[in-house]
Symmetry: C2
Subunit: 149 residues, 2 copies
């Protein structure tokens, strides 16, 4: 039940771009430094994220990366799914990877796994990078946050 470090790197890279929030692109090297990501690995990751339509790039000197869409329209869940594949405790409760369970319709765990998946989804698909940036800014000025309903 854990995300790969590649995925976490991807999230941090996008976070850095979201926080940067400027018309000037951010260079790979700068992202790598701020987010403590091995630079050669980050190259691979950013390229992949570009393919997924999360970021755009500009080549050449003064080039770099920026977000492809506004940070408040990009959810953590979307990135996690793109990098690590479907978010599901077991394949049979994933929409995209739905395989016939060996226990067709008779699975004793189907409902349970579905509830787990939904619980995760309720968090990751409702949190955007803009939320994280705001949260972080609030933390920096000492606001603790109120997560009650």
């Amino acid at each position: 039940m854990s995300v790969s470090s590649k995925c976490y790197y991807a999230l941090r890279a996008i976070y850095a771009l979201a926080e940067h929030n400027s018309p000037e692109p951010l260079k790979i090297a700068q992202i790598a430094e701020r987010e403590l990501i091995p630079i050669r690995f980050l190259e691979v990751i950013l390229n992949q994220l570009k393919g997924g339509g999360f970021v755009r790039s500009k080549r050449g000197a003064e080039g770099g990366y920026f977000l492809a869409r506004p940070a408040n329209e990009m959810t953590i869940g979307a990135v996690m799914r793109f990098v690590d594949g479907p978010i599901a405790p077991v394949d049979c409760v994933s929409q995209s990877r739905f395989k016939e369970c060996e226990f067709q319709g008779e699975c004793n765990f189907f409902g349970f796994w579905g509830r787990v998946r939904q619980a995760i989804s309720d968090v990751v698909d409702k949190t955007t990078f803009a939320d994280l940036v705001r949260e972080s800014a609030e933390r920096k000025r000492g606001y603790v946050g109120d997560w009650s309903i």
Copy 2:
């Protein structure tokens, strides 16, 4: 974000014992057959579960396995943690595996990962094997279930 098949096998094996619910033990071969688990692998798994205090065994002819504790005192989460390790999207939000995050106290994702972990925990640590057995029995007689609050 997925459980290993070893873990799922372990859960199914315990489920079988919970459902069996008899003073007579269940043989490895029987469990393997009912839950579609490779028998040699199941041997390893049950032995491990015994070490964790989840099941007990009886050797020799007419031997087999039974639950070490009542099914309503055994949560899915406890078994998952025992087999797959801490349930946490990243190590830094796991109590037992807590490592200093590279971003000490300045991590932009800490709160987020904590909420993910809590969401998962709220499901897996509140569901017992007795719940699953009951749920399954209800499903068999056509009761759909009501999961509204």
